[in-house]
Symmetry: D2
Subunit: 262 residues, 4 copies
C-alpha cells in the first residue's frame, strides 16, 4: 500500500536554539520512499547526517522568531506485517555483531530486572517468535493503552508498576521483557496508518529466526501500514527532535497519514 | 540558489538484470535537498543502502520488459564555489584518518606516475590551494575538453597522452596530479547548472586548508550551481548505475537542471 | 610511562554459556600497546569484532568446565593527565556528529534531571573546562568514594541520593551533570596505576575545547597512568564482560598494574 | 596450528617522513591472535586506526636517523584451507551490501576486460566454487610464479601479457577473472607458513556459497598456515607500508614464520 505521511511542527524561538531532528524516513528493507519533502523556514544552514543505526538526522540552529518544519513523504509499505510463528530463537553466538547491542539493558528498558516476569509470561512457549507473541499478548491484556496519557518517557519498571501507558511505554516494557529472554529487541518510531488518535507512533521489533519482526501491543491483528522513521535502543535514540537550552514554545504539532494508492 | 535537477533513464530488459543505482543526491555540508522524487517502473522491490563514502545506492533486479527510472530533486546550493588561495597544504600526519585513502593511486588515477609532471606544473607555487589551482589552470589550457568524445573511462595516463577528454577524464588527471603532491583528491559526480551540453557531470575536490574545495577544469571563473550525487576515488566508485550480465539496451537518458528560485 | 596491565578471570561453567569480553586495550590517541597477550583456556573458537565506539570485543561460548581468561598488555601512557583550564565550551552546532550521542541521557546517566544541580555547582564558572573541573571537585567533596561498596551499577539519581559510591557511580553522576550543561561526556573503563585497592577502574571524559579531557573524582592532582579498555555512554557499554543465561560461578578475578619503565 | 610470525623493517631516514603501516594482524573469523608485539624505535608518537575493510593501521612521522619496526604475533590458524566444491554462485541481488565493492574493477584488477577469457577458462563449470577453482588451476598452469621477479605491482592485463609474476600478480589476475564472472573477489596480504623463499605473501579470496574462500595459485593442495594482515580491493589497499615524500633507504626487511605448537 502507498501512504502519504506528513508532519508539521512550529516553534516560537526566543533565543538561538540548536535542534536535532529525526523526522525523515529512509528507504530500506521494508519501505520505499518514492517522494520526500522537507521544508524548514526560515531558510537556514542545515546539516544532515546518519548514525550507526541508519537513522537520518538534521542539525541546525534555529534563529529567534517562528520556526516551521514540514516534512512529507510518499511511502510504499506492507498492508500486513510479517508473521512467522515458527521463527526460532537465535542462539547468542549466532547473532550478527550489530544485533548484540539490542540484548543489553538501556535507559528506559531495564531488562536486567525482568527475567522472572518474562519467564512466567512465556511459560510453555517454544523459544522464539511465540515467546515474543506471548509478551505482546500479555502487554495487550495487562497494560492499558491510553494515548496521550504521558508527556515524557518512563522506564519499563515504571510502566509495569503503573499498568498503563502510551505506545512508547508499552514498547519499552515489551523490549525489556524480550531482552531478559536474550531475544534482541529494538524501539521503532514512525507513522501508522489509521492510528487513533493520529500522532507519531512507537512500536518494537524483535530479532528471531534471523530477521526483525514487528510487534505492537497497541494494535490487534496483523494490520500493517507502518512507516519507520527511526530505530534505537529505546526512546532516548528515537526522539523526533531534540532541542538544547531553554525549551522553545511549541506552536503546532500535527501528523497526517493518508493512503494514496494500493 | 535553488535548482531542480532530474534524470530520466529507460532500458529494454531482455533477461532479469541486477542493477545498482547511484542517482539520489543527499543533503550534506554543501547542499540541502528540500524535495526528492524517485520513481522506478515497474513497481518492484528496491533496497537502499549507503557506502562508507556516504553515497546512497539502490539495488534491485529489473524484470524483463521496459525499465524506467525517474529521479528529481529540489536542491539549495551555492551560486559560487568557495575559493581560498591561502588554504595551506596539510601535512600528511595532520590529515583525518578518513581522508588518507584519497592520497593513494586508484584504478583510473595512477598518481604514482605523475610526480615529475606535477612538480613542473606547480613550480614556484606555495604548497596548498595555489598548487591545485595551477593544476586546474594547466588542465584547462593543455587538455582539450570535448564533451561526448568518449564513452568509457580512461585512466589519467591515457588522458595525458591523448591531450583531450570528457569531464571525467580531466578530473582523473587532476586527481592523479594532486595525489602525486600528497594532496588528497576525490572524484565528484553530479549535476551542474547551465552545463553545455546538459549531461551528468564530473569534477574533483582537493583537500587543503582542512576542508574540501571544488575544482573543475571544464568551467571558468568561480561559477557554482553544483549538485553532488556521489563521491569516490575515481570513476569506478561513482558510476550513476552498474548493471550486471548482458548489457541492457538503453532507450533513453536525459538530464535536466533548471533554476527554480534564488 | 610504561605500564604492564593484566587481568585474570576464571569461571566454573555448568552449562554452555555465551560470553562477550571487553578486556583488550587498543592503541589510540592516548596510548600505545606495544605488547598484548590474550589467552583463553580451553582452546575454543573465538570471534573478535569492534563496535562503533572503537571498543574491541571477543565472543565465544564457554563449554562446561573451568574457563580461564588471561590478558596482559604493555602500554605507553602519560604520567600526568592533560589539563587545560582555558578549553572553552563548544557550541552544540560545532560538535562533530559522532560526539552528539554523548549529550543525551542514557541508562545510568539521567542528565535530563540534573540541570538545576549542575547550574548551582558551576555558578560563576566560564563555560567549558572550568565547569567540568567544578563538577569533579564537587563530586570529590560531596560523594564519598567507597571502593567495593556496590556490586552492580546504580544510576546518577540513585548515586546522588546515596551520597556515596564506587568509581563507576561517581563517573555516572559526573557524566549526568556535564550532559545537563550540554557538555558531551562519556564513560571510560580501564586500568589505573597505583589504584588502591587494585581493581578495574572507571572514570569519565568531557569534550571541551575540541577534544576529550580526562576527569576522575576518585583521585587528586593530575596524576596519570590511565590505560583505557573501553568507551561508552555509561556502564552498560563498558562492562568488561557479559555472560548470558544462568550466571557462571566466578572463581577468580585479579587485576594487576605495574610500571615497567619510564 | 599455532604460528609465530614476525617482520623486521629498518630504514635510514634523511628527512622527517610520514609513514602508514599495515602490519598488525587482527583476530577475526579465521585466526586468533594470542600474543602480539609491536615495537617502533625511536620512541615516537604513533596513532592507530582501522579502515572500513577492518585493517589496522599505524601512522607516525619518522624522525631523521634509523627507524626500526618489529612486529611479532602468535596466531592460531587452520592447517588446511576450507574447500567446498558445492558452494554455489550467489546472485548479485543476494550479496550483502558490503561485498558489492568487490565486484567492480579496481586499480590493478581491470575486470571489465576479462569476460571472454574468464568464460573460456570456466567453460562447462557450474557457477560458483568450481569456477574459481578452475581459475586458480588455470593460473597455476598458465602464469609462471617467479618469486622476487618484480618490485612494484602491475595490473592484471600486464600480468596476462607477461605470463609470469610474483604472488601479488597472480592474485590480481585471479581477482580480475572472478569479478568478470560477477563473483566478488578480494586481495589478501599476510604470512604463509613454509613459503619458499620466506617473504610477505599475497593471495585472494572469492565469495561463493555465502562466505569467503581462500585461493592461492602459487601453492598446491589445500595447505593452510595462512595469517591475514590485510584485506583490500587490490595491492593498493594492502601495501604493508606507505611512506610519503622522498623514498627512505631500506636497511632491512626480514620475515619469519615458525610453527610453535599444533
Amino acid at each position: 500500500m502507498w501512504l502519504r505521511v506528513s508532519c508539521n511542527l512550529a516553534f516560537d524561538i526566543e533565543i538561538p536554539t540548536p535542534f536535532i531532528l529525526r523526522l525523515r524516513p529512509r528507504s530500506g528493507a521494508e519501505q520505499w520512499i518514492e517522494r520526500d519533502e522537507f521544508k524548514i523556514t526560515p531558510n537556514i544552514k542545515i546539516l544532515e547526517f546518519t548514525d550507526d543505526y541508519g537513522n537520518l538526522y538534521q542539525r541546525f540552529v534555529a534563529p529567534v522568531g517562528k520556526l516551521s518544519i514540514y516534512t512529507s513523504s510518499d511511502v510504499k509499505t506492507s498492508e500486513f506485517v510479517d508473521v512467522n510463528f515458527d521463527a526460532p530463537f537465535i542462539e547468542i553466538e549466532q547473532l550478527p555483531n550489530d544485533v548484540l547491542c539490542y540484548l543489553l539493558p538501556s535507559r528506559y528498558c531495564e531488562s536486567d530486572r525482568f527475567n522472572d516476569l518474562a519467564n512466567s509470561i512465556t511459560l510453555d512457549k517454544p523459544a522464539g517468535y511465540k515467546q515474543v507473541f506471548a509478551i505482546e499478548e500479555w502487554l495487550r491484556t495487562t497494560i492499558s493503552y491510553i494515548p496521550g496519557s504521558s508527556d515524557y518517557p518512563i522506564s519499563a519498571t515504571e510502566v509495569y508498576q503503573k499498568r498503563s501507558g502510551v505506545c512508547r511505554d508499552l514498547a519499552h516494557l515489551g523490549i525489556a521483557l524480550c531482552r531478559s529472554l536474550s531475544i534482541p529487541a529494538r524501539m521503532v518510531v514512525g507513522y501508522l496508518h489509521q492510528l487513533q488518535p493520529m500522532d507519531m507512533h512507537a512500536w518494537f521489533e524483535a530479532y528471531v529466526g534471523g530477521r526483525w519482526y514487528t510487534f505492537d501491543a497497541t494494535q490487534t491483528g496483523q494490520k500493517g501500514g507502518y512507516v519507520t522513521v527511526g530505530y534505537g535502543l529505546d526512546a532516548v535514540d528515537v526522539a523526533i527532535f531534540n532541542q538544547f537550552g531553554p525549551v522553545a514554545h511549541s506552536l503546532e504539532q500535527s501528523i497526517n497519514v493518508v493512503q494514496i494508492k494500493n
